[in-house]
């Protein structure tokens, strides 16, 4: 037990260190690299007066270390400072976007599971038959299709041709549940397909390996129904090695929302990131990036802690 706690504690400390390094990298990349931040934001034609005003607003006269520590101190207290392009606090701007992105990611994961498991099951049962080869080709093509292209094609099929869904996934606090559902359907489907294409291949191979194993043969010989053998004996064992694929997919979703939210104009963290960069609103950009990276680090940490807890050798304290 002590061993488990020590492992988990170490993992949490490591994640905090990584997060700290990430914050340093972001800050250094945007604010310390050569070139004046104020000139970069306002452009070459800016007057000396407006440059000085912006420098004062961003405290650019202070040394970089002091600015970094002040920024970090604020973040620890949940204060990200103010956006340049609108005088509102960054935390107020980002809170609803974060909520929207979380809803989108959740929906994507709910869609992802059946999209990954069902084709893999079909392929494993009909191994080396035409349907197996066909699905292999389909997953390879989907795997090679950039997410922005897939999103655009889905948009064309469901919105322009079938007219089933809105082309702009615009939601706000007043949106009803149905409106949310319609808005996130296509972005979530895009993300789910990309993730599933990545997982299906591995899941298929794992399933085939499990189906060839002795205990599955045993279950078959006991006279259990095919369905029961597949769903109760084979699938759970094939899913465990696929867990790390799902952890990688969490990482994908955090980057994938940047592109996919932009295609559907969905107001989440991803489109916020792109907008902040387009408007050269560096404080907002830095905060958004830090939150995105933070999510990935926390998700990875949880996945690792989960696998520590699931590891029977560690659990029994041997």
């Amino acid at each position: 037990m002590v061993q488990i706690l020590r492992l988990i504690g170490g993992r949490i400390l490591l994640s905090l260190l990584t997060l700290l390094l990430v914050s340093l990298i972001i800050f250094a990349a945007v604010e310390v690299l050569p070139g004046d931040v104020a000139t970069r934001i306002l452009g070459r034609e800016a007057t000396a007066g407006s440059l000085a005003a912006l420098r004062a607003q961003l405290h650019l006269e202070d040394p970089a270390t002091l600015r970094y520590l002040r920024w970090l101190g604020g973040i620890v207290r949940g204060d990200f400072g103010f956006a340049l392009t609108s005088a509102r606090p960054i935390s107020v701007i980002l809170a609803p976007k974060l909520f929207n992105t979380l809803i989108l990611a959740l929906a994507a994961f709910l869609l992802y599971l059946p999209l990954a498991i069902i084709p893999a099951l079909i392929q494993a049962i009909r191994r080396d038959r035409p349907v197996d080869h066909g699905l292999s080709v389909v997953t390879l093509v989907l795997l090679s299709t950039p997410d922005f292209l897939l999103a655009t094609i889905l948009l064309f099929i469901f919105v322009m041709t079938a007219g089933l869904l809105p082309s702009m996934s615009i939601v706000d606090e007043t949106s009803t549940f149905t409106e949310y559902l319609r808005a996130i359907a296509l972005p979530a489907l895009t993300l789910a397909i990309v993730m599933a294409a990545y997982a299906v291949r591995m899941l298929r191979d794992n399933l085939i390996e499990v189906l060839d194993s002795e205990y599955v043969r045993m279950a078959e010989l006991k006279g259990l129904s095919r369905r029961r053998v597949l769903l109760r004996h084979a699938l759970p064992n094939a899913l465990i090695p696929s867990l790390n694929i799902t952890a990688l997919n969490v990482g994908y979703v955090i980057g994938g929302v940047v592109v996919v939210e932009k295609v559907f104009s969905y107001p989440g963290l991803g489109s916020q990131l792109v907008n902040a960069l387009q408007l050269l609103d560096y404080p907002l950009f830095e905060a958004t990036v830090l939150i995105a990276a933070g999510f990935y680090i926390v998700a990875n940490m949880l996945a690792d802690i989960g696998s520590i807890l699931l590891n029977p050798r560690l659990r029994s304290g041997q």
């Binding site: 990584t18 390094l21 990349a29 090679s144 922005f148 990276a293």
Partner: protein, 298 residues
């Protein structure tokens, strides 16, 4: 009694090559054919396209598929096929040079870090781990933010961004390979001969890590067109009128409303088929070199 040695005619280079080709995995062969087609098309597109890649009014704006314009015409009347053809060498050159630069930086850092070890390795690992924990596209956008708007659209910036995104991931693989090689005797021998870390890396580690690095290079090169396309699509990559494929898809997205999907699907087909080719090639290459690879890794 001596047996007369029957001397078989030595197989010619061509015969050897064709035997190797027939023995190669099917994915490798299909991938290589697709890649050869893309390289050929890009080479042709560099010198000849049906219309100029930025020539206006070649046909009725926003028209769909026709014999004169197989990929349709965009809203300024530019022929999409010509744009896709001309864009080929841009996509290929940016991807290859970005990935190569990332390979050189990543392999150097990874091999040296794994060989030298100690606190330097420890620090480098933490930093690389931190960079890797920033998602691909986000890391690319940070680099673009750092470069500032002055450099926007500069092909050199895109090469640097691709290299920056890949180098830490390649370094991690190279380090793992180095840790494996370092335990062998010839490394100890080299160390005892008093060779410098640089020369050990160059003469002992690198030749033994070639297959790992080759597969890693192919894998990363397979995703580079998507990364470059995503940047172009978001408006942070190549600038109009350069016909980079992601940018083409973004430009013609508006035309979907007028029901000319081919203007988007044409460039999309080019991009997706290139990535399919690269992925198949990588999978086959990994099998030839006896490595396992997870295609589509991001």
């Amino acid at each position: 009694m001596t047996t007369a040695s029957v001397s078989r005619p030595r197989p010619s280079g061509w015969q050897q090559a064709s035997r190797l080709w027939r023995r190669a995995p099917r994915s490798f062969r299909i991938g290589a054919v697709i890649l050869a087609f893309h390289i050929l098309a890009a080479a042709i597109g560099l010198f000849w396209t049906p219309y100029g890649f930025s020539q206006l009014f070649t046909g009725a704006p926003l028209s769909g598929m026709s014999w004169q314009h197989p990929f349709g015409v965009d809203q300024s009347g530019r022929d999409i096929l010509s744009r896709v053809l001309y864009g080929g060498h841009i996509v290929l050159l940016l991807s290859i040079s970005g990935t190569s630069l990332g390979l050189v930086i990543g392999a150097t850092i990874g091999l040296l870090s794994g060989y030298i070890g100690g606190w330097l390795d420890e620090i480098l690992q933490r930093v690389l781990e931190a960079i890797i924990s920033i998602p691909f596209i986000v890391l690319a956008l940070i680099a673009i933010a750092a470069a500032g708007p002055e450099l926007a659209g500069n092909p050199l910036l895109i090469v640097l961004v691709v290299a920056l995104v890949y180098a830490p991931r390649i370094a991690r693989m190279a380090r793992a390979a180095a840790l494996d090689i370092v335990t062998r005797d010839f490394i100890t021998a080299a160390r005892l001969r008093g060779e410098s870390a640089w020369s050990v890396m160059w003469r002992e580690l690198l030749p033994n890590a070639t297959s790992v690095l080759l597969v890693e290079f192919a894998l990363r090169a397979g995703y580079a067109p998507v990364l470059i396309g995503s940047l172009g699509f978001l408006g942070f990559g190549m600038r109009p009128p350069m016909p980079e494929w992601g940018l083409l898809i973004s430009e013609n997205r508006a035309a979907l409303i007028t029901n000319t999907p081919i203007t988007v699907l044409g460039p999309g087909l080019a991009l997706a088929s290139l990535v399919v080719g690269l992925n198949l090639f990588t999978e086959g290459l990994a099998r030839i070199l006896g490595r396992s690879v997870q295609i589509g890794q991001r």
